[in-house]
Subunit: 338 residues, 2 copies
DNA sequence: TTCGCTTGTGTAACCGGTTACCATAGCGAG
DNA sequence: CTCGCTATGGTAACCGGTTACACAAGCGAA
């Protein structure tokens, strides 16, 4: 591997001159610069970024810490981040916390000196726990997370109002007995969606304690919910699942039991995963632009890195949009658009 | 930020002793080590990895260069890589070549000094072009790519035999006129699948020049293929799309035209994306364990990094499995299992 | 007591690139 | 011809951790 000293020797100049020529810092005459560049080409010199980060005190890299890397959700987030990062000439260092607090601490620690900033998406953990591990000097933006007591910028989805709107829509289509399938207990997204559902049922539907079935965001838990619904003889004319995966399982379970969707029971999900539009009937859901979650967070981080103060922009809330499809079609609509 | 010198001063020892204590290199008495560790805790010291990589000449990071980050395919690959990398305590540095040769060169160059090894997935490019940019001293494994003339280890999917098997299966189910929807012209996966199809048609079906429609792996190109098929009045009793995405579009297009699947026309895809099993009828396809593509490549890279010679294991071919589902069901099967 | 050995600790050079500061050459003005 | 300025380039310290080597202390053996 060629070093800067090699280049300098080859070009017949000092390391300082070579460095200046390469970085275009002026104080170098055209012929000198040309000689240096020729040497660079000849030796195939590429600056060693480890050494560079020592003196420059920046790495042109951002660390991304996600709870898991499974499924389209995370792939879309990474894509959104990469889109913006690439534009700004930054690299992405991936860290996986694999769900545990200890892993998260390790992941954050191991990024010291490797990154200029951090994007963190803590799914279940309390922010207070994370605070101990975060380096206050390292710019950090939270993904899909209300930073709460921590004074850090974040991007989040308005799960509460999304769930509220969907519940309202179901009621508006004539449903009286709407059942909710909840997500993991400690997941904030899941809790907010449940709150939105409960509040809408109370205020719009006039129902005090609506039925709620347990779930964990997995397809299997949707199937189980369908069984509970049928065997428990729970009266229901609509089911609102806390995410699309569960809605998919639910529909399969209902079909198994001979129930028709939306004829007997309407179904709605949340997220608008690509699969949703391809089901038959297609799944009504709340559309979350997952990639924007990533790109927005990355843009915020870039601004912090540039030294700008975010002010009011330090909290960005993305509002999901209601997508009405086949699983909530009324009989008229079903005839009009099979 | 606390440095090693700070820790040494705090513990009342020299930097050398502090370093040895932290890295557990022996030659340090228990009380001395305890004092150092106490200082580490107190100052919240984390070694600066940039500085470390200078002397150690390793970074515990592997670079991953992908053509794009879109869709489940890449997400699965990254997940597979991460699974193995995490186990080995390695980090992932993501690079996106965004399709162009120039970008690829930049991505590879910018990883100099940042990574110990490289995983590269070149979709369309010729290996000869890449060779100029690859550092021979940097261990590299190709993903989903036959390294060809380059003497580098790789993991690939046996697209040819997969396509051959699927075509054979379609013919075995009574199809006579099978049409293929091809992938992008310069994509090697697509070309191999097309070759497998053509050869199977000739050898098993006795058909010399089977009909082939153009496509580009996108859902839309599947829809277009359906239109071409109908409007061109191309006789067909089965369609084999080069990937699942196009099969999905194709099915939608056929439904639009009033054709029933598999009644009028059987359909098959390739990849087994998660969506495949959820379609109705469910999509028959060749199952590729995409995550294994990533994890296998990562395991190979780890072995190279440990100094092992791969020998025969330097070329790993993953064989896809045929998954027969609803879109290729014969009428008897359709009655038996609706 | 002194020599020799083991064991623990310190000093300083080094990895590769950056940059503050200094030295020199070249030029015009006086 | 000398002075003084600027443009250009060189020297060396530094970023933070690692490690070869030197050194000192402690112990047993002669």
């Amino acid at each position: 591997m060629a070093t800067l000293r090699d280049v300098a020797r080859e070009a017949g100049v000092s390391v300082a001159t070579a460095s200046r020529a390469i970085n275009g810092l002026g104080n170098v005459t055209a012929p000198t610069k040309a000689a240096v560049m020729a040497a660079v080409k000849k030796l195939n010199f590429v600056p060693h970024s480890g050494a560079r980060s020592l003196t420059r005190r920046k790495t042109d890299t951002v660390g991304v810490i996600l709870p898991d890397l499974f499924g389209e959700f995370f792939s879309e987030i990474i894509r959104g981040i990469d889109l913006v990062a690439h534009e700004a000439g930054m690299h992405l260092l991936l860290g996986n916390m694999h769900g545990s607090t200890h892993e998260t601490a390790t992941a954050i620690a191991s990024m010291r000196g490797r990154v200029d900033g951090l994007l963190v998406m803590p799914p279940d953990l309390k922010p207070e726990l994370l605070a101990d591990y975060l380096d206050p000097a390292l710019p950090t933006v939270f993904l899909n997370y209300d930073a709460g007591s921590l004074d850090l910028p974040f991007v989040a989805v308005d799960n509460y109002h999304g769930a509220y709107a969907m519940t309202e829509a179901l009621l508006g289509r004539g449903a009286r007995q709407v059942v909710h399938i909840a997500g993991p207990k400690h997941n904030r997204d899941a809790r907010d969606r449940q709150r939105g559902f409960v509040d809408a049922m109370a205020k719009v539907g006039g129902v005090r304690n609506p039925a709620i079935l347990p779930g964990d965001f997995s397809e299997e838990s949707g199937v189980k919910a369908a069984q509970l619904l049928i065997e428990g003889q729970l009266p229901a004319d609509a089911v609102f699942a806390a995410n699309d995966q569960m809605a998919v399982g639910l529909i399969a379970g209902l079909a198994e039991a001979g129930k028709s969707v939306p004829g007997d029971i309407m179904v709605a999900g949340f997220d608008d995963i690509p699969l949703a539009r391809h089901l038959s009937p297609s799944l009504s859901t709340m559309q979350v632009h997952i990639d924007r979650l990533g790109s927005t967070a990355m843009m915020m981080l870039l601004r912090v890195l540039r030294g700008e103060t975010l002010g009011a922009a330090s909290a960005t809330i993305l509002t999901p949009a209601l997508i009405a499809r086949g699983t909530t079609a009324t009989s008229q609509e079903a005839f009009a658009q099979p």
